[in-house]
């Protein structure tokens, strides 16, 4: 079973998954789809996957440019999810110091996903995140959280 992020448009057709055009799919529907794809008994992992997919989609809407699409793929024999959100915008997703205007989306993704990243291909970028149930979550050990030294602060 593959744990490898796939290239845009290069997803394995034998993997259960689906692609949505974000110009036609509400964020709410993406959350529903994640819940439907992942089994109930996965508990926290399922909630986390819903949140992670929601954050990637929200970012594509707020910071990206159309066309925007979201692909959800079951991995790890159905016990994990790969969420891939593609947009045509030039900006680079990056962890920033959270403040009153935001900055907690990728902090959540970075803490909840086992791995995440960005890939650029033919002028589009895909932001992806993988959650799998059996791997140890790395809570608080991520050195790149260090860029957010005041992330609990209010101003």
């Amino acid at each position: 079973m593959s744990m490898q992020p796939r290239d845009v448009g290069d997803s394995d057709p034998h993997q259960p998954g689906l692609t949505c055009d974000l110009a036609a799919t509400p964020i709410r529907r993406i959350r529903q789809l994640v819940r439907e794809l992942l089994d109930d008994h996965l508990g926290v992992l399922r909630d986390d996957a819903v949140l992670v997919a929601d954050e990637l989609v929200s970012n594509a809407i707020q910071h990206g440019q159309g066309p925007r699409s979201c692909r959800l793929t079951l991995i790890d024999n159905g016990r994990g999810l790969l969420a891939e959100v593609t947009d045509a915008g030039p900006g680079t997703p990056h962890m920033r110091t959270p403040d009153n205007n935001g900055g907690r989306g990728l902090v959540l993704v970075n803490r909840l996903a086992n791995s995440w990243g960005v890939r650029w291909c033919q002028g589009r970028k895909t932001v992806w995140a993988e959650l799998v149930s059996d791997a140890t979550k790395h809570n608080g050990r991520a050195p790149h959280l260090a860029i957010a030294p005041e992330w609990t602060g209010q101003e």
Partner: protein
């Protein structure tokens, strides 16, 4: 589906997230009860509801009940952080009730906002003048 015939801009996309807000007065405090999903689409409504409640209390107490919220993402977290700051600026108090509701408490704790927001286990506790978060 990548190249739809009609490319809609981000502000013309379908929104379906559900959020209902119920505001009542209890012992001179305003209790704002929120049910549904707080996300990019609904966070502005949450902000607005808190702003109205804070204006009504006039330097008083506002209790935000999130125990029946089923989803809270970073857009919601930002709304909570900003409303808490705004309340403090108005000399008012914004107390947030979360109990053990996972979809709400998990993102709050993971982003460390339990150190910043004034969290309570129940509306009664939050209404208790003597209680501190």
């Amino acid at each position: 589906m990548d190249r739809p015939g009609v490319i809609r801009p981000a502000n013309d996309r379908p929104r379906a997230s559900r959020l209902s807000v119920d505001t009542r007065e209890v012992d001179g405090a305003v209790v704002v009860e929120v049910t549904g999903e707080v996300d990019l689409d609904t966070a502005p409504r949450l902000r607005e509801a808190i702003a109205v409640a804070l204006a009504e209390t006039a330097g008083g107490r506002c209790v935000l009940d999130l125990t029946t919220v089923g989803h809270l993402d970073s857009a919601g977290l930002t709304a909570l952080v900003d409303a808490t700051r705004e309340a403090a600026a108005q000399q008012a108090r914004l107390r947030i009730v979360v109990d053990a509701n996972r979809p709400v408490i998990r993102p709050i704790e993971i982003t460390g906002l339990n150190q910043v927001l004034h969290l309570y286990e129940s509306v009664d506790e939050a209404l208790d003048e003597s209680a501190t978060s």
